[in-house]
């Protein structure tokens, strides 16, 4: 589903964060909200005061006194309760939070100290930390209802330094029940002082999701395009564990990680025994991946033996393992029980073949960009419903 749209902005040149209101609100309830006017809805200046801003699909009949963005390119993706940010300089309207979604993310920076060949969020070397932190602090205050889980992602969140600590502290204060998961390359945690300070934040429900792509440095460093990354990541995971920070290890499955996959999980078992979960993830055809596709692409159907061996390896040792971003039709049935519906709602797509598939309710589907590149073996499964459900549980 759409994340951004553009319009013409007026009355402000900063960023405004607010909750969308599609109906008029009494004045005392207006202060955290942005009034979204439907097409053809008319209004006067008086009825708009007190809102943080006004959004209008059409052109506003008169200039309001509050900040506004009108003449939106699209607006049917905007719903009541969504939290958006408006950019006064550009007229950009970005959706930050949708209460009705299953998965929620807090995006904290585009900066990154790695440059993974298959990065789905290619980094930018521009310091956006101050601006995004300010925006995110406001976002945290507005989020309602509080979600069960929240993923903090980037870029590389630890590059925020103290700002990340500020965000986590604010989350601990406003929604201590929300479980936080930080997607990080873990490298910064190799510095003992950093791991200590992170642990001292004392957030009761926090874990790190850290990728590891090989059991030896050269191969991992090549995938993440950073020398010393493997050493720092492994040391970082140890420092985190030593300070009582929960960790999960993630592996993106592609041509560079499949050949030694079982050896990698063996390495995780012996050296990162404290990892509470191992996530084996399908490749996303977005970001850098199309550029590097020759080096990366292997049809998931063709690596099922390696995947099964690695999953079984972990399962008999009682390590929790999940498979993300794979369609059930390309997975061996013995692996269905490990497959999770992991694709963020705004990214999910099903192909025409999927319409007849009896496993559709249990399947996570594909990424939107999979239209351009997906397994040659997507096909409808025709098994009776109960046996699909059984196999998946």
């Amino acid at each position: 589903m759409r994340l951004t749209t553009m319009g013409i902005a007026g009355n402000f040149d900063t960023s405004i964060v607010g909750i969308l209101a599609t109906e008029s609100l009494p004045p005392e309830q207006r202060s955290p909200t942005i009034r979204l006017l439907a097409p053809n809805e008319t209004s006067t200046d008086e009825s708009l005061s007190g809102y943080r801003a006004v959004l209008c699909h059409d052109a506003l009949k008169s200039v309001p006194s509050v900040p506004y963005v009108h003449r939106l390119r699209e607006s049917d993706h905007l719903k009541d309760g969504d939290i958006v940010v408006l950019e006064g300089n550009t007229g950009l309207v970005r959706s930050l939070y949708r209460p009705y979604e299953l998965h929620h993310h807090l995006f904290v920076t585009e900066r990154c100290n790695s440059n993974c060949l298959m990065c789905s969020q290619p980094p930018k070397d521009r310091d956006d930390v101050e601006a995004l932190t300010e925006r995110n602090l406001e976002l945290i205050n507005l989020i309602a209802p509080h979600p069960e889980y929240l993923t903090i992602t980037g870029g590389e969140p630890t590059l925020l330094g103290d700002h990340l600590f500020k965000l986590i502290s604010q989350l601990k204060l406003t929604m201590p029940e929300t479980e936080l998961h930080i997607l990080t390359n873990g490298r910064t945690f190799a510095w003992p002082e950093y791991a200590r300070r992170f642990a001292e934040l004392g957030h009761p429900k926090i874990s790190l999701g850290v990728p590891l792509y090989a059991d030896f440095a050269g191969a991992h460093d090549h995938v993440v395009q950073a020398r010393g990354a493997f050493d720092q990541t492994v040391a970082g995971l140890h420092q985190a564990a030593r300070n009582g920070i929960r960790v999960e290890v993630r592996v993106v499955l592609h041509k560079l990680t499949i050949p030694r996959l079982t050896k990698l999980v063996d390495y995780i078992y012996h050296n990162l025994t404290f990892a509470e979960h191992v996530a084996l993830m399908g490749l996303e055809y977005t970001g850098y991946t199309p550029r590097n596709i020759e080096e990366l692409w292997i049809d998931p159907y063709d690596y099922q033996d390696e995947l099964e061996e690695a999953v079984e390896y972990l399962a008999v040792r009682n390590m929790t393992v999940s498979i993300y971003n794979h369609q059930l039709c390309v997975l061996k049935p013995s692996l269905w029980r490990y497959a999770r519906k992991s694709i963020s709602d705004w990214k999910t797509l099903y192909l025409p073949e999927c319409e007849q598939c009896s496993a559709l309710p249990a399947c996570g589907g594909l990424f939107q960009w999979a239209v351009k590149k997906h397994s040659d073996h997507i096909h409808a499964i025709s098994l009776p419903q109960p046996s699909v459900a059984e196999t998946c549980s």
Binding site: T158, T188, A190, Q232
Partner: protein, 138 residues
């Protein structure tokens, strides 16, 4: 060549393993004899400064083929102990360090890691996070 004193019935069935003393030290040789001492008496006779003969006399009846097997096994064992000595020589320092770290109450994982973790933006800051973390004030 010295004529050694005979130590037992000269014609009891036995095997003779030839050992290259340039490769196998006395210590390594003794270790091999130690392991074979359950089933054999081992008598070491230095043929010269480079070669020793080890006479393996079985403690209970043994066939000719069993003796041949024992001779090969002994030679392999002696060579393996020589290898172990080399490995120990190359690794004893790092082993001591490893065990010291393993059993110290602190000191493990207190070292600063190698390399940098910063991106180009961070590198350009004079008081960037990386620099602060590398010089922790305690």
């Amino acid at each position: 060549m010295n004529q050694p004193e005979s130590t037992g019935a000269p014609d009891a069935p036995h095997a003779v393993a030839e050992i290259n003393l340039a490769i196998v030290s006395a210590e390594a040789l003794l270790k091999a004899c130690y392991w074979f001492s359950r089933d054999f008496t081992c008598e070491i006779r230095n043929r010269n400064e480079h070669v020793a003969d080890v006479i393996l006399t079985p403690r209970s009846a043994a066939s000719a083929s069993e003796l041949a097997v024992a001779k090969d096994a002994f030679t392999t064992s002696a060579m393996d102990f020589a290898l172990r000595e080399k490995i120990e020589a190359k690794t004893s320092g790092i082993r001591d360090l490893l065990l010291a770290k393993a059993f110290s109450e602190s000191g493990v994982l207190e070292d600063q890691p190698e390399g940098v973790f910063s991106d180009t933006v961070e590198e350009m800051k004079p008081d960037g996070m990386f620099k602060i973390l590398s010089n922790p004030q305690h």
